[in-house]
Symmetry: D2
Subunit: 257 residues, 4 copies
C-alpha cells in the first residue's frame, strides 16, 4: 500500500527542523556530521521510513513535496519567499488548467510552484533575460518533476509578452511597472496580476502603472510568518524571524469601456 522509493528518485533526508537534505536514492554514500548513510539502501523502502546513520542517528526518508523543492532549489532568499508564493497562488486562484505568464525565471522556484498547481493541463510561460539562469532553472524544474508544464523563454518581459488570453501574470523582477501595459494585453478580462518587490518605492510605481492601465482590485500587502518554540509550559515565539522578503501587489484586469 505504501509508496516505495525507486532507484534514482529524490529523497528528503530529515534529521531535524533545520537539517533536511535532498538526495538521490542511488549508489553513493551520504556523509553528515551525524554519520554516513548508504543512499542505495533507501531503494525499495517506503517513504517515511526511518534509516539509521553509521552513528545510529535516525533520519526519516521523506518524499519531497513542492514545498521542499522550493526551499532546496532556491537558496536562502527564496526559502523565505515560500509564504509569498502561497499567497500569490491562492489570491490569483492559480489551479489545474491555468495558463500563467511568469518572470524573471531566476532559479525557477516560483515557476516550479506555479507549474505544480497548473498541471497537468495548464502551462507556465516563464521569461528570463539571462541565459545562464535559464539553464539553472531548467535543471531545477526537471528535478521538481514539473518541467513538462513550463515553457522557458529567453526574452525580456518589459519588451512584450507573446501569449494572450492568459489567466494570470506573476512578476518577480526589478521594474514591474514596465511590464504592466504588456500584462494588460496578455491577460484575459478579469485576469489576475501579482508582483513581488523588495522595496516600497517599486510598489508605488507598480500601483501607479496599474491604475493608469485601468486595473481594478489593486491591493498591496506584506506577509510575515513567525515560528514558535512549543514546549509544555514554556511556549514562545522563536527569538529571531525574517522581518522582510518583499511586498506583494495584486490586481485584476478590467476591459476598457
Amino acid at each position: 500500500m505504501e509508496e516505495v522509493i525507486e532507484r534514482g528518485s529524490d529523497v528528503l533526508l530529515y534529521l531535524d527542523e533545520r537539517r533536511k537534505y535532498l538526495v538521490k536514492a542511488e549508489g553513493r554514500v551520504f556523509h553528515t556530521h551525524r554519520g554516513s548513510i548508504d543512499l542505495s539502501s533507501l531503494v525499495g523502502k517506503p517513504y517515511g521510513t526511518v534509516v539509521r546513520s553509521s552513528l545510529k542517528v535516525p533520519f526519516v526518508a521523506l518524499k519531497p513535496t513542492i514545498y521542499d523543492y522550493i526551499c532546496k532549489l532556491s537558496r536562502k532568499t527564496q526559502v523565505l519567499y515560500f509564504k509569498d508564493i502561497a499567497l500569490i497562488v491562492l489570491r490569483l486562484g492559480i489551479g489545474p488548467g491555468a495558463r500563467v505568464v511568469e518572470g524573471g525565471t531566476g532559479s525557477g522556484a516560483l515557476a516550479s510552484a506555479l507549474a505544480f498547481f497548473v498541471k497537468p493541463t495548464g502551462r507556465v510561460y516563464s521569461y528570463e533575460v539571462r541565459e545562464d539562469l535559464l539553464e539553472v532553472a531548467r535543471a531545477n524544474l526537471a528535478r521538481a518533476g514539473v518541467l513538462d508544464y513550463v515553457e522557458l523563454k529567453h526574452a525580456d518581459l518589459s519588451k512584450g509578452i507573446e501569449e494572450d488570453g492568459v489567466d494570470a501574470v506573476v512578476l518577480d523582477l526589478a521594474t514591474p511597472w514596465e511590464v504592466v501595459p504588456h500584462a494588460r494585453r496578455a491577460l484575459k478580462g478579469g485576469g489576475g496580476f501579482a508582483s513581488f518587490s523588495p522595496v516600497i518605492n517599486q510598489v508605488e510605481r507598480t500601483v501607479a502603472a496599474l491604475r493608469a492601465e485601468g486595473f481594478v482590485d489593486v491591493e498591496a500587502v506584506e506577509c510575515l510568518t513567525r515560528g514558535f518554540k512549543v514546549e509544555e509550559g514554556a511556549t514562545r515565539p522563536h527569538s529571531f524571524m525574517v522581518a522582510h522578503t518583499g511586498y506583494l501587489v495584486f490586481a485584476r484586469k478590467a476591459l476598457r469601456e
Copy 2:
C-alpha cells in the same frame, strides 16, 4: 477570444476594494446604494466588462476565483483565514491528484480551497458532526464548482478516519490532539498534517500529541498579513489589521522503526 458570461453563472461585481458582490447572471435587478444593475444584461458580455449602474457608477463584472468563493462563502472569520489556507496548501504540497482528509467542514471554505487544488483527479474527504452545517457546505461547494471532488461525511474525526494512505490530513476543529492518532493511521508514510487553532494552548497539546505519535518536521507558525495604502509620496500601512486568526501546526508522518 474572451470568455463570455453565460446565463446563470456567477459574477463578482466589483465596485471597490471593500465592496464586491457575488451575483448570478440572470433576470433580476441588483440594487446597491450606488444604483441598480439589471443582472440579465451581463449575459453574453465578456468577463472583465465594465457595467454602469442606473446612477452611472462603474462596476466590473469579474469571474469569481476560488479566492472570491472563500471570501464570500465564509463570512467574516474565514476571510481572514485566506492566508492560512494558502500556507497549508503550499506547505503540504496539496496539488492535482492529492487525496486529503479534512474537518470540521464548517461552511466549507477550507474544503472548497482544497478541492480546487486537488481537482480533477484528487479527492477531499470532509468530516463534520453537525448535519446542518453539511447542508450549508454542500451548497457552498456546489456554488464554487468543486462539489464533485469532495466527499462530505457526517462523522466525527476524533472517533476515527475511514480512509487510508491519504496524502494529507488538515484540521480546523477544537481538539486536534484527539485526531492525531487517527491521522497517523490514515496518512501514507511521509504524509502531511496541518492543524489550525485559535488559541496557543491547543497548539501545545497538538504538538505534544504529534511528538508522542512519532511525527517529524513538527513546526508551529503564525502568519500575519498587513495591507498598505499606496499613494505616490504618501504610502503607508493601513491603520488597522487583523492581529490574529490562529496558529498553524505542521508535521509529517514517519513510519515506525
Copy 3:
C-alpha cells in the same frame, strides 16, 4: 498612609479595560450606562477605592498617570501613539533636567509626556503654528499638571529654532526635513533627534536631510504592540490591532570637523 482624593482633583474612574473615565472629584453627578456616581462622594477617599454606582456596579477611583493623560487628552490617533512616545523618551534618554525642543504641539500629548519626564528642572519648548491648538494644548498640559515645565511658542519650527544647546529635538509634523538644519544648530554636540512620520516617503526625505547635515546613528524603526486575551487554557492575541501609527527616525548630532 494612602494618598487621599482632594476636592477638585482628577480621578480616573475605571470600569473595564475599554471604559475609563477622567473626571473631577467635585459636586457633580456622573452618569454612565452602568448607573450614576456622585463625584463629590470621592473626596476624602484613598485612590484605589472601589465605588459603587447607583446600579451597584463597581468602579475603581484611580489617580491618573501620565499614560492616562496621554490617552485621554489626545483622542483616537494619539492613544495609539503611546508606544511611540515611550520609545522616543528612552531612546533619546529624556530624563529629569533635560531641555527639549518639540513640535508641532497639536493637542499637547507628546509635550505632556516629555514634560513629565524632564520635570522638575528640565524644560520643553513646544512650537505650534496654529494659535487655536496652542489653547487646547495649554488646557491639556495644565490638566496633566505639567504646564509649568513647558514653554508654548506660537512659531514655525521650519523657520528656525530660538533655543540652543538643547538635549533633544522631537518632531511630529508634516515636513521634518525642513527642520533638520535648524535642529542641528539648536542641539548640543551628541544631542538626540527624533521624528514621527505616518508615511514612508517622509522618512526617506528626513533621513536624507539628516545625512546631509552630518547626523550620525541614524535609525528608522516602526513599533507595533499587540494585545492578548488571557484566559486559562484559551490564551490568544486579540483579533484586531493597530497596524500602523507611524515610523520613527532617530539620530544624533556630530560636530563638524
Copy 4:
C-alpha cells in the same frame, strides 16, 4: 557652551550603527580593526566631536545616554529588551520622585532605566537572590551614574516585599505569580504593576494571580520593533528582526471593598 569631555568620564565612540564602543576618556590606546585611538586625546573636547583613528577613520565621541548604558551593560538579551523597558516606564508613569520595587536585579539594566527616570527624589528598591549578580549590577549602576537612587537588596521577592506604599512594582523573574500577593501589599492604592515573561504560560499564571488578588486594568501585550534600511528609492525593512523578547503584563491595584 558645549559640554566638554572630562578626564575619566564615559564616552561612546560611534563608528556605525552596529559598532559603538563604551570607553573611558583616560590614558589608554583603544584598538579597533579600523585603527587605534588614544583615549586621553578625547579629554577637553566637546561631546559630538569627530576623532580620527590612526587609519583616518572617523569616530564620533558621544556622551552615553541611559539608552546606551542599557544596551552596553546588559548584553545581548537586554539590548532587545529596550522597547519593553520603554513601555513599562510610560505605561506605569514612572517619573521623577517615584518609588519603585524591582527584581530580579540581574545585571541591573532595568534598574538603571528606572533609576534614571525617578531621580533625583525617587528611589528604586531592587531585589536579587544571587549575590554575585548584585555585585555586577552595583558596578553597572555606578557606571551609568544612577547608583545613588537604587537600594540593592539581597532578598527573594517571592518571599515578601519590605517596602510599602510604593508607586510601582516591576518584575523580570521566572515566577511572577508568586510575587503578586506581596506586590499587592507593597503598592499604594491604584499603584502600577508590570511583569516581563518570555513564555506565554507564565503570562497565563500571572494574569490569573492578578485577578485573584483583585487587581484591575489587567493587560497583556507584546511589543515588536522593526528596523528599516532607508535609501532614496530603495527603502525597505531590514531582512531580519528580533521576533520575541517577552510578553508584558500590566495591572493596577484596587483597594478591597
